[in-house]
């Protein structure tokens, strides 16, 4: 449970981080909260030779309104997002989902940009960002560019970022008081989701739906969204939740059960977002 030897570089600006990435090449990894990277380094599943620590870059930590969007700095901690009054008012799905990530320690250390860059198919916040149709802003040697989140998650721990780039910002639409829901299904409250479904009514009148842990990456439930756009009922649309998914079978759930959960959680999330039922949080289950 001790990582392989590595060099540690602490930077205080994005430019320094980009320069350090350029200097150390593909053996370097960005360290922010460390709650995804460090465990796999301790298990020696990841052996980066250089860690570039951006957790102390002040310009990357913010939540603010910019036009029709909310802009969130990449090193914003889950806890900061959870407690952000701007986020609560403008895009309440995100602070709620932030409050459901891991345990208090994870939420106080983990960062939004980190969980997006890590690209774990079972991650909560990337699922919410996908449902929201967020934009990922990355910065590299050739400057900044924006990538639609639907094109960002490519595969298992694989993103659309080029070598030398890091996530600097997430931009999401201001959904305000429109309906939203996050149905997270876990063994224990602090666990990764076995499956999760996010649903949110978007400013353009559409409904965004995304699923966690139903394939190698977090997935947009496009068939569900299309069915809703065609005026299908929530029940009918939710039945399509497994289209385009490739759920794995592991000790927590087999593919058949995951598919069942995807349909069930999608239906529940859509109903909660539509104001038809209450969210099935752990508390309401216990009541």
């Amino acid at each position: 449970m001790i990582p392989s030897p590595f060099e540690y570089v602490r930077v205080s600006t994005v430019d320094e981080a980009v320069a350090a990435l350029a200097e150390h090449g593909e053996d370097a990894k960005i360290l922010a909260g460390g709650h995804s990277l460090l465990p796999i380094m301790k298990l020696r599943l990841a052996v980066p030779s250089v860690l570039i620590d951006i957790s102390g870059v002040p310009e990357l930590s913010y939540v603010r309104v910019e036009g029709d969007e909310v802009a969130i700095g990449a090193t914003t901690r889950h806890h900061e997002l959870e407690k952000s009054e701007v986020a609560q008012a403008e895009v309440p799905l995100l602070p709620h989902v932030a409050s459901r990530v891991g345990d208090p320690q994870v939420r106080h250390k983990g960062t939004l940009g980190g969980t997006v860059a890590h690209c774990d198919p079972a991650s909560d916040l990337p699922t919410a960002l996908l449902a929201l149709g967020a934009t990922v802003v990355v910065q590299g040697p050739s400057g900044r560019r924006s990538i639609p989140i639907t094109e960002f998650f490519l595969g298992f721990f694989e993103t659309a970022m080029e070598e030398g780039e890091l996530v600097v910002e997430l931009r999401v639409p201001r959904t305000g008081s429109a309906g939203w829901a996050y149905e997270k299904f876990t063994r224990r409250e602090n666990d990764w989701p076995i499956v999760a479904a996010a649903a949110v009514h978007l400013p353009d009148g559409s409904t965004g739906v995304a699923l966690a842990n139903m394939g190698g990456v977090v997935l947009r439930a496009s068939a569900v969204e299309a069915a809703l756009a065609e005026g299908k009922s929530i029940e009918e649309a939710a039945e399509l939740a497994t289209e385009g998914t490739s759920p794995s079978s592991d000790m927590h759930a087999d593919a058949e059960y995951r598919s069942h959960l995807a349909r069930l959680l999608t239906r529940r999330a859509l109903k909660v977002a539509a104001g038809e039922t209450e969210a099935s949080t752990a508390e309401s289950t216990a009541a």
């Binding site: 449970m1 001790i2 392989s4 030897p5 465990p39 298990l43 020696r44 299904f185 063994r187 224990r188 409250e189 602090n190 666990d191 990764w192 076995i194 000790m251 927590h252 759930a253 087999d254 059960y257 069942h260 959960l261 069930l264 099935s280 752990a282 289950t285 216990a286």
Partner: protein, 767 residues
């Protein structure tokens, strides 16, 4: 007023909760200055033949002082199995040699000694081990076929067998017979403090070993035996211990290895394992496949019960091999069943070795018979609480012999059930359940009832005896030495209370010491819920004897008749009856001459605490997820010395039992690779999954010791596991489900509902 029975706050907690206790890995003893760090290289194959071990690169790695492979072990002999009746062919090598077989993921192949700990992990990666895999034996069913034999020199995977098959006509006179296969799954002890050991040899030729364990004296004996050392040369010290749950009983081979390595290199050596290493290397628990058959009449009377156990012993059979005999002994539990049959067969598999785990054989008995009672109740359409009531052993105050051969000391099982049902509001719960079923709610209520009796203070290698030494010092303080071995239980508080009660010396002036074999050469450790009823009783006896010693001395001093003197609790001494405050204090007596007593207390026999639990769950029938909403328990452990600590034992036990019922299971893939070797994968229960417990009081004293105390450490686990499992089954019983194996995960429950409904639909279509 006596201090006994009061809620004295744990004296050890300020340290534990602030700067922390000193665990083995925290030691800064000067004898460990310059210690090397041991890192074990373990097999990552469950079953196979080692074809080569190349340590040459590792020997050149930074910080490496030595690398040992099987070639470097000299005349160190393999460790024989710990039970005399086991075939010596099951012996475990210190390091598996080239040409030898590895038997589980975690088997030892090499060990690296480095200056710094981190260097050990780097160097261990450079030891190249080639293993030619053999088919792995992962289940007892596969083991029983002997198609793959783990130890060719033994010739079979069968390790032991206890009991005989039931006669063919055993259930012939029963109106109703129900039979069911039940899994009591393999679980991890997972103490927060993983295994650790340090060793240093002195110039006097003696070795001091610090290691985390549940009984220093037993661990010392084992280590000396394995290394062929004169026990007099071994000084074993148990620092603070962060949990054991049975898996730290005795020593592990790694502990002895550390001592041997220290001798070889002539420097102290330390070892502390990682969590992943712990999850494959430390003894695990339960791992029984059971078949229950229960028969009786439609009016609810059970007349015959059979329990067949198949025990998975893991790779190298250890104490887990004999735990099924406790399961057999307690098979009929709280029930008066005319015919009881129990037998067990034990097999070696390519898994981690099985040992004691909170309850150790008794929870398996209770889980089986409680499931059987529920199945029987469902079959005859009777309320499960009522079926239990009909079949209880009637209230008794004199020892009673059971059909399985146990002698229960005292019990009132029906009263325990009555109390818990009343506290739970059983009738109203059933009414609420009926309403939810009527409405077809998504969230359905389940109620699980369990009744249990267990054996505590049984002979676990030290008879039913424990010793204590009590000394009062001239400054008025006192020291208690005990052969028990607290690892979270709070003996420092309770043992001080027992001494204080007799002497009047305040608890904060009494120090309790344990776990040092030079100071306390004899002791039975802490296991099997024995500590208070034997170790605590010994402290009580020591205090009573010390009073008598002091009375004689005081009589001379005060020129009084010893019979006229009484303990003056308020002034911590003795005075002439009726004149408190004018006698002599313990401190004064100790100043004149050492005031010390050593004594051994022997209990008449083991004790049998009992109780009843009600668990309430809310199950989402669409997803299958069950959430525990209430746990109401009666855990009668006889006289309670400190209710605060007893409740803590119940809390922990209940929680751990819920963990087994709902969450925990050690899993292997078909090649024997562990699937649950981190805390991300292995879900021990946490506060977020538990309601506040509703503890109901009941205390039936035992005649087996002067305190009237029975064991409390394991009871909660024994009662809560079947109660929660039953509650989950009950929550979906109206959908046709009769049984869900543990852990009752949401997927299992969902699938059970679906299968029940499919088979119900088929029945409907054929009728």
């Amino acid at each position: 007023m006596s201090i006994l029975g009061t809620r004295v706050v744990r004296t050890e907690d300020p340290l534990f909760l602030t700067r922390g206790a000193v665990y083995t890995d925290d030691l800064t003893d000067e004898r460990l200055t310059g210690a090397l760090h041991a890192t074990f290289v373990r097999s990552d194959v469950a079953h196979g033949t080692v074809t080569s071990v190349d340590a040459s690169a590792a020997r050149e790695a930074p910080g490496v002082v030595a690398v040992y492979t099987a070639e470097d072990l000299g005349d160190l002999q393999p460790v024989p199995p710990p039970l005399p009746f086991l075939d010596a062919g099951f012996s475990r090598p210190w390091l598996v040699p080239v040409g030898g077989r590895v038997h589980f993921v975690g088997d030892l192949v090499a060990v690296v000694l480095t200056e710094e700990r981190y260097q050990g992990e780097d160097a261990a990666e450079q030891v190249v081990v080639d293993i030619d895999p053999l088919p792995a034996v992962v289940t007892t069913k596969a083991a029983a076929t002997d198609e793959v034999v783990l130890f060719p020199e033994v010739g079979t995977n069968k390790v032991a067998a206890f009991g005989e098959p039931a006669p063919e006509d055993f259930f012939a006179d029963c109106e109703v017979v129900v039979r069911r296969e039940i899994v009591n799954q393999r679980v991890a002890a997972a103490p927060l403090e993983t295994r650790a050991a340090s060793a240093a040899w002195g110039e006097d030729g003696r070795v001091t070993i610090w290691c985390t364990n549940q009984g220093a004296q037993q661990a010392k004996g084992q280590i000396a035996g394995w290394l062929g050392l004169d026990p007099a040369l071994v000084h074993l010290i148990t620092p603070d211990v962060g949990g054991g749950f049975g898996a730290k009983i005795g020593a592990d081979q790694e502990y002895a290895f550390v001592a041997w390595l220290a001798q070889q290199v002539g420097r102290p050596v330390r070892w502390s394992e990682s969590r992943s290493e712990n999850m494959t290397g430390m003894l695990q628990g339960r791992a029984q496949d059971q078949v229950v058959t229960i028969g009786g009449s439609r009016d609810g009377k059970v007349t015959a019960y059979s329990l067949e156990v198949t025990q998975d012993c893991g790779a190298y059979p250890r104490i887990g091999t004999v735990l099924p005999t406790l399961t057999m002994l307690m098979a009929a539990a709280v029930y008066d069943i005319p015919k009881v049959h129990a037998q067990a067969t034990c097999y070696a598999t390519n898994g981690t070795s099985i040992g004691a785990y909170r309850g150790a054989g008794r929870p398996e008995a209770t889980a089986a018979v409680e499931r059987a009672m529920d199945l029987f109740a469902a079959e005859i359409g009777m309320d499960p609480a009522e079926v239990r009531r009909i079949n209880f052993i009637p209230t008794f105050t004199e020892p009673v012999q059971t059909a399985s051969g146990a002698t229960y000391d005292s019990g009132d099982y029906e009263a325990a059930l009555d109390r818990v049902l009343e506290a739970a509001g059983y009738a109203e719960l059933r009414a609420e359940q009926a309403r939810r079923r009527e409405r077809g709610d998504v969230r359905q209520l389940g109620i699980g009832v369990s009744a249990y009796v267990e054996i505590t203070g049984a002979d676990s290698g030290h008879g039913t005896s424990e010793n204590a030494e009590l000394e009062v010092h001239p400054d008025g303080t006192a020291t208690v030495l005990t052969g028990t071995s607290p690892h979270g239980q709070g003996h420092a508080t309770t043992w001080a209370m027992l001494a204080s009660e007799q002497l009047g010396i305040p608890v904060e002036k009494i120090t309790v010491l344990h776990g040092d074999t030079d100071r306390i050469p004899d002791g039975g450790g802490t296991m099997g819920s024995r500590s208070l009823q034997q170790g605590g009783a010994a402290v009580h006896q020591a205090a009573v004897e010390l009073v008598e010693v002091a009375r004689k001395r005081a009589a001379e001093l005060l020129e009084a008749n010893p019979d006229d003197l009484e303990v003056d609790l308020a002034n911590a001494g003795l005075s002439v009856k009726g004149t408190p405050g004018v006698g002599v204090t313990w401190a004064q007596l100790a100043a004149d001459e050492q005031l010390i007593v050593q004594t051994t207390f022997t209990a008449n026999a083991p004790t049998f605490p009992f109780g009843a639990h009600v668990a309430v769950v809310m199950t989402d029938v669409e997803s299958g997820k069950a959430v525990v909403t209430r746990l109401v328990t009666v855990d009668d452990a006889g006289t309670i010395i400190n209710p605060l600590l007893a409740e803590g034992q119940r809390h922990g036990g209940i929680a751990q039992g819920v963990g087994q019922a709902l969450l925990e299971e050690i899993l292997y893939d078909e090649d024997g690779n562990p699937q649950t070797s981190t805390f991300a994968d292995y879900p021990f229960v946490s506060a977020t999954e538990l309601p506040s417990f509703e503890l109901v009081e009941m205390a039936t004293p035992t005649p087996m010791n002067p305190l009237g105390a029975k064991g409390i450490g394991e009871a909660g686990t024994i009662g809560s596991t079947p109660a929660v499992q039953s509650a989950v089954v009950d929550s979906v019983a109206h959908l046709g489900v009769r049984h869900v194996d543990m852990p009752a995960t949401s997927m299992r429950v969902w699938r059970a509902i679906r299968e029940a409904q499919n088979s119900g639909a088929q029945k409907g279509s054929t009728n």
